[in-house]
């Protein structure tokens, strides 16, 4: 574990050296995600200007949901972006074989190979949104609330990574996994808003099937003191279960790869 942490640090250092070399790239990449987020928020703001609340949720409360999922997404974006291009950039080119002849875990190698700086933009936007919402809503930043928020965001990030990993495994069979990953990933758009505004079906899917709800709605509802019962605490459990499942399936895909070589 310590070995991997140290190794990740070395990968990260090299990555930042590249980014410093392409300074403009860095600025444009991180900046463009900020702009993208701003556009999305503008849409929410213009809708919310017309109505006092959305099914009992005010603009600031929605910002909290939105901010939390943006933070969770940024973790996935920064640390696991290579899962998106795994098929195209590593399986198709044979580059993945290079990972398999090295004495480290190939999944670790894949993730560490490219820290994605574009995610930093998302991270900054997420922090700003959560702070803005918490100030407006008078959420006290007690140690308990801070710890709760941290755990919620990390769990949310892990849920994002687990779902992308699950879908990226399809690359072992179909090589280009982007459409599969995209199909599942896009459903997180639902979780940018309180799940109570949707029909029951969508709520159930976003909680138990594609559990992005734990990356946004449930922790936000808890912080706002809304009664959601045990769901406020399930996030970390769901995250651990999902990443374990995803890793198992990854191993299964890997064993398929070693029998076909694609």
């Amino acid at each position: 574990m310590r070995r991997y942490a140290r190794l990740y640090w070395h990968f990260l250092l090299q990555r930042f050296k590249i980014l410093l070399e392409y300074r403009m790239n860095f600025v444009i990449g991180a900046g463009s995600t900020v702009l993208l987020q701003a556009a999305g928020l503008l849409a929410v703001w213009s809708v919310m200007r017309q109505i006092p609340d959305l099914n009992g949720w005010t603009f600031d409360e929605i910002l909290l949901v939105y901010g939390l999922i943006t933070l969770s997404k940024s973790i996935n974006h920064m640390f696991a972006d290579n899962l998106w291009i795994f098929g195209r950039a590593y399986i198709r080119t044979g580059g993945f074989d290079r990972f398999l002849v090295r004495p480290i875990n190939p999944l670790f190698h894949l993730l560490a190979d490219r820290f994605c700086h574009d995610g930093i933009g998302n991270f900054v936007v997420g922090i700003a949104l959560v702070l803005k919402a918490s100030l407006a809503l008078h959420i006290a930043w007690t140690p308990i609330n801070i710890a709760y928020c941290l755990v919620a965001v990390v769990s949310g990030g892990v849920i994002f990574i687990a779902l992308n990993l699950l879908t990226a495994v399809s690359a072992f069979w179909i090589i280009d996994s982007i459409p599969v990953t995209s199909a599942i990933f896009q459903t997180h758009e639902f979780a940018k808003y309180p799940l109570t505004i949707y029909s029951r079906g969508i709520g159930i899917v976003m909680t138990w099937l594609i559990p992005y709800g734990f990356a946004s709605f449930y922790p936000a509802a808890h912080l706002l003191g809304r009664p959601i019962g045990v769901l406020a605490w399930l996030g970390p459990l769901i995250a651990v279960a999902l990443i374990t499942l995803a890793y198992r399936i990854w191993l299964w895909g890997l064993s398929h790869y070693s029998s076909t070589g694609s």
């Binding site: 044979g94 002849v101 070693s258 029998s259 070589g261």
Partner: protein, 339 residues
């Protein structure tokens, strides 16, 4: 214990055969039609510590599949593989610590990183001791002439520079076994020489076992004491290079340049000869020197063609191996392998 040991290894790829178009794709999804392709069949050989073995065969003969199985990337469909006593697939990580691989066509370095940074990262992955790493880096920088390249990113390197960088990365953790898949492909003579010298040096000083696939027979002649030839997934020859030359180098050829345009169909060829190639005023005749001799061939042909010049060519390995690939000697070789 041999360093590399394959016994009765087979590899069968099962792929889904798709008909063209969307309909084909949908059909393949619901009712897949599997096609089996045998890449390697009943492959057995072993390599001892410190050997440099040329592993050759035409494209599609099963070379890459073998290398992928030896490195642990693929697992065999049947038979068993041992590298340094381990199953390279089951014990992939332990195996990876002791091997080095060059896949000639693709780099194992980071495209955007300066060579020094790439090597640093590799040293970290293999947990090299800093002092040892510095020593090796200095050594490789000299033998592979990398000094001025250390600050250059891989993407800005020429093919020859890239391959030298690649070799440094491959030997950096001092692997006991190295697989080189086409290490000299597309390189100029000078770079090829340097690379061969480096491989030879590593082999002699550290006793590194090397398996080399190549289409360049100079690589084989200069590096390998032993050659394994595979065809259609099986070994067709395994032995010293000299034996191939002795046994199958019985063909020589004479090239004539003639004063007048040739009338090939009117030529009467002596026994044991065949026309290898001909042009309007050029003729190359191949003969078996156990049946006839150069002077007999010349004597028989000179009166018929009015030669203004002629030359005798030594058998080169390339033409011999071409014959073997073409199946000319397959039967004879198999016999020898059995004996």
């Amino acid at each position: 214990m041999p360093t590399i040991e394959l016994s009765h290894v087979s590899k069968v790829y099962r792929t889904i055969k798709k008909d063209s178009g969307l309909r084909g794709a949908v059909k393949a999804l619901f009712r897949p039609h599997y096609v089996e392709k045998v890449a390697v069949h009943d492959l057995s050989f072993h390599v001892d510590a410190g050997e440099v073995v040329g592993y050759i065969g035409v494209n599609g003969a099963g070379k890459s599949t073998t290398i992928k199985m030896l490195t642990g990337i693929l697992h065999p469909s049947g038979g068993s593989i041992r590298v340094l006593g381990r199953d390279p697939h089951r014990e992939r990580v332990a195996n990876a610590r002791e091997i080095g691989v060059v896949f000639g066509q693709r780099t194992q370095l980071w495209w955007d990183l300066a060579l020094r940074e790439s090597l640093n990262l590799i040293a970290n992955i293999y947990e090299l001791e800093p002092a040892r790493y510095r020593q090796l880096l200095a050594e490789f920088a000299q033998t592979l002439e990398l000094e001025e390249l250390l600050s250059v990113p891989i993407r800005s390197m020429s093919l020859g520079q890239k391959m030298r960088a690649e070799l440094a990365a491959t030997f950096l953790h001092q692997p006991r076994v190295v697989y080189l898949d086409e290490p000299t492909i597309g390189l100029d003579v000078m770079v090829k020489e340097r690379i061969r010298a480096f491989i030879r040096d590593q082999n002699q000083r550290n006793g590194t076992t090397v398996m080399l696939t190549t289409h360049d027979l100079d690589d084989i002649e200069q590096l390998c004491q032993r050659v394994i030839i595979i065809d259609a997934g099986s070994v067709v020859y395994d032995g010293p290079l000299s034996t191939i030359k002795q046994r199958f180098g019985t063909f020589r050829s004479i090239a004539f340049e003639t004063a007048h345009p040739l009338e090939i169909e009117h030529l009467i060829l002596p026994l044991g000869t065949a026309i290898a190639s001909h042009g309007e005023r050029a003729l190359e005749v191949r003969f078996d020197r156990t049946v006839t001799s150069a002077s007999q061939v010349a004597t028989a042909l000179m009166p018929q063609i009015e030669a203004i010049d002629f030359s005798l060519a030594e058998p080169d390995l390339e033409s011999i191996i071409k014959q073997i690939y073409a199946g000319t000697h397959t039967a004879a070789l198999r016999e020898e392998v059995l004996v």
